[in-house]
Amino acid sequence: MVNDQFLMEMIRSELAEIVGQDYVSVAESDKLVYSTDWAWMPQMWLDRGERLRTPDFIVHPGSAEEISEILEVANKYRIPVVPWGGGSGTQGGALPIFGGILLDTKRMNKILAIDEKSLTVTAQAGVILSQLEWAVNEKGLTFPHYAASSNCATLGGALAPRGTGTISTKYGKAEDMVLSMQVVLPTGEIIRTPPVPQHASGPDWFRLFLGAEGTFGVITEATMRLDYLPEARLLRAVLFDDLSAALEAGRLMMTRRLEPFVIRLYDHNSTASQVKKILGYEFHGAYMVIGFDGDPEIAALQEKKALEICRSLGAQDLGREPGEKWWDHRYDFYYPPQNLKLPWMYGTTETVTTYDKIEGLYWAEKKAVEEGFADVGVQFIGHFSHWFHWGVMLYSRFIIENPPQDAREALRLHNRVWNAAMQAVIANGGMINEHHGVGLKLSRYMRRQFGTAWPLLLKIKKTIDPNGIMNPGKTGFGF
């Protein structure tokens, strides 16, 4: 974005005066490493030896005040700013596609306060989630946002795309755990949202920043709800012949308020491939893990009732061991070489909808992908992982083991598969994403997703960010 070397040096000096010389970089190695996040698209591009757009400056601010000053510089020179947490987003939300200033927030990693009475923790947005969890564990508490990316994602990164963790079914998404935030607006003002999330003191504006993925400002600090570490965690697995029956079992567990902390339901393909690969079990059917936690007697009773539901719908009880093994190895799916990795093409076309639509949506998406791309040997697998009182999330994935070697061809094919999946999702009442966010990858579907409400979001964006500097090209917003 900054093409003029003279101006580049002037801006670099200005940034160094704000954060210190050590915290501004223009090194080629830094630019390359920060040019990709955890999305398949940029990783593939680099993998094929192609170059990505890199940031002009990588900056590590140490405070909200420094970020405010940086944004003043960015507005003055009309330079895009991309907030960066752990770089673990899968949607290309942190890609510096127009260059500019990349703001790595990980220097702001302090845990500021743990309130053992209100059960809250206040921390800077750059803290790594696992480190935050260790800190609160020392007081017998837990931050119940157990994302698969907890080892690498930051607190800000959990909030910005509206992330979800493994035990969200009972404890909620990250957005459900936030009490208040400090945000630096695109125009540099540092604001604090109200101290509690539920009140009747006007419109719920603080949620604007959740899901905005940095386009409405930079989250710098948050106060989050905690829970006590549970006394007991009971896990077991069941096996259904019929996916429909399994979905109904999950719906009943949720709507009857049995409060499982996890229901993880794998479709037949996932059971045959992923469950076998990681856990070593050869089951034929839809494998489901259910878990209940808290007071041991209550958890045991909840589990008993859940098992009754499952059995009534034809499930075979596989006992504790497969459930406990799943829990102990639930993140093993993400370690190489057993994770999905290049040179394969893959994508997580996840979605969420209400119970009356989910089965239809699953089959529609599966058909759109499998039939539309049979010629390239696509596999479609899915599991249902985050359950709500009103519906459930489908974590659907496609895999193509032999994609085109040419980067451009591969990207085109990738985008066509995504398009087929998203068209099926929208046509069948689903949302284009449940917890990975929109980023760059799904940006083009925002208008369709929000329909006549989309101009409202554009107006809000224009008001908050008049120069369009914040993370342009993401979540449907341009300059």
Partner: protein
């Protein structure tokens, strides 16, 4: 390590972020590039022609700590530190490594250590038990060796001292000098053979890791299976639990914490022994650092002290800050290199540092005479 192993590890790690939560250098620098995935991505990018080895990228390569956290926390045990060492060896061969690498290499070649201009001592006889001294214990914190010998002698163990003043080979390997590392390794193993020992004691987890794992993996040199390798803390803790030795409770009233030394994460299961020993000597409930046991961060005592002394310093200061926050006033550890680094900066944090072996030797009160 074969180039194929290096390549597959780098390909696996370049886009994996699953060990970031324990990454020590990224924790103190906050830089994505100076993280396990960053190093792997830089190496992979050089391979793909997207970067080349130059001052910038070589500096990145030599910013990795090689203390083992990434591998210790990898479910699939990716040997990234080994891959980085192999990539450094390539850079050395291309004559592109930082000048200090060649300087340290020259010192290791001539003196077997970068810490003194003295040749290593010779093997002192034969016996059932040997003790590897190394260069850090000999030159950086000799009191730990003196204390260790005092305790052993009271157990009627007079170990044959080997490797007196000789680096164990880790440093050379880490810097990308595998041939030199192998030379040092063979010299130590020759002395071990000459000693006739059936058991070798080591003073630190760094030594244990080097002999048990680094030698075969990075140098293709097997540890002699007939010789049992034991960390001295583990050895002493077992004897304490067996009733062979007892320690007096010291009257030191300071709040204390055990600091897991650099490389501790590489030796699973070693964390309890030094704590048990310390608890028998010092009164009161010990404090614990946040970065402890399986997730212990290093101090700046790895090769970083030569290639990136600024990062090495940050690591040491971060551990001291961690200790200060724990409420400890006295820090205790067993590894000479860790002791040296901590002690250099401890006063600035109102902390004192003591060697574990010295504390044990001072307070040893009872020994069962073995037959």
């Amino acid at each position: 390590m074969t180039i194929q192993d290096v390549l597959s590890t780098v390909e696996n790690c370049r886009y994996c972020l699953m060990c970031r939560h324990v990454a020590s250098v990224e924790y103190v620098t906050h830089k994505e590039t100076l993280s396990p995935h960053g190093w792997a991505l830089v190496i992979a990018s050089v391979k793909r022609g997207l970067l080349e080895w130059n001052a910038d990228t070589v500096d990145v390569l030599y910013s990795a700590p090689d203390n083992g956290n990434s591998r210790a926390h990898c479910v699939t045990n990716q040997p990234l530190p080994e891959a980085i060492a192999a990539a450094r060896a390539d850079v050395v061969r291309l004559n592109l490594a930082p000048q200090v690498v060649y300087e340290v290499g020259a010192a290791l070649k001539e003196w077997s250590t970068p810490f003194a201009r003295r040749k290593p001592g010779t093997v002192s006889g034969q016996g059932e038990v040997a003790l590897f001294v190394g260069d850090e214990a000999q030159y950086l914190w000799p009191n730990c060796l003196i204390a260790a010998l005092e305790i052993l002698q009271k157990l009627n163990i007079n170990p044959v001292l080997i490797g007196v003043g000789r680096n164990n080979g880790y440093l050379a390997s880490s810097l990308g000098l595998p041939e030199l590392a192998a030379e040092l390794a063979r010299a130590t193993l020759a002395e071990l053979d000459e000693s006739g020992a059936r058991q070798m004691l080591v003073l630190s987890p760094g030594d244990y890791f080097t002999f048990r794992q680094l030698y075969p993996e990075r140098l293709g040199i097997d540890w002699p299976e007939a010789v049992e390798l034991v960390e001295l803390t583990t050895f002493l803790a077992a004897r304490m639990e067996g009733g062979e030795i007892r320690f007096r409770r010291s009257d030191v009233g300071a709040a204390y914490a055990y600091v897991d030394p650099t490389h501790a994460v590489r030796v699973p299961g070693r964390h309890a022994a030094p704590r048990k020993l310390l608890a028998s000597v010092l009164p009161g409930e010990p404090r614990e650092l946040f970065w402890r046991r399986e997730r212990a961060h290093p101090v700046g005592s790895t090769a970083l002290q030569f290639t990136r002394p600024d990062i090495a310093e940050k690591l040491t200061l971060a551990r001291l800050e961690d200790a200060r926050r724990s409420g400890a006033e006295l820090l205790v550890t067993d590894d000479a290199g860790t002791l040296k680094k901590l002690s250099e900066r401890a006063a600035a944090f109102d902390l004192r540092v003591a060697g574990l072996y010295e504390l044990l030797a001072e307070n040893l009160i009872y020994i069962v005479q073995s037959n």
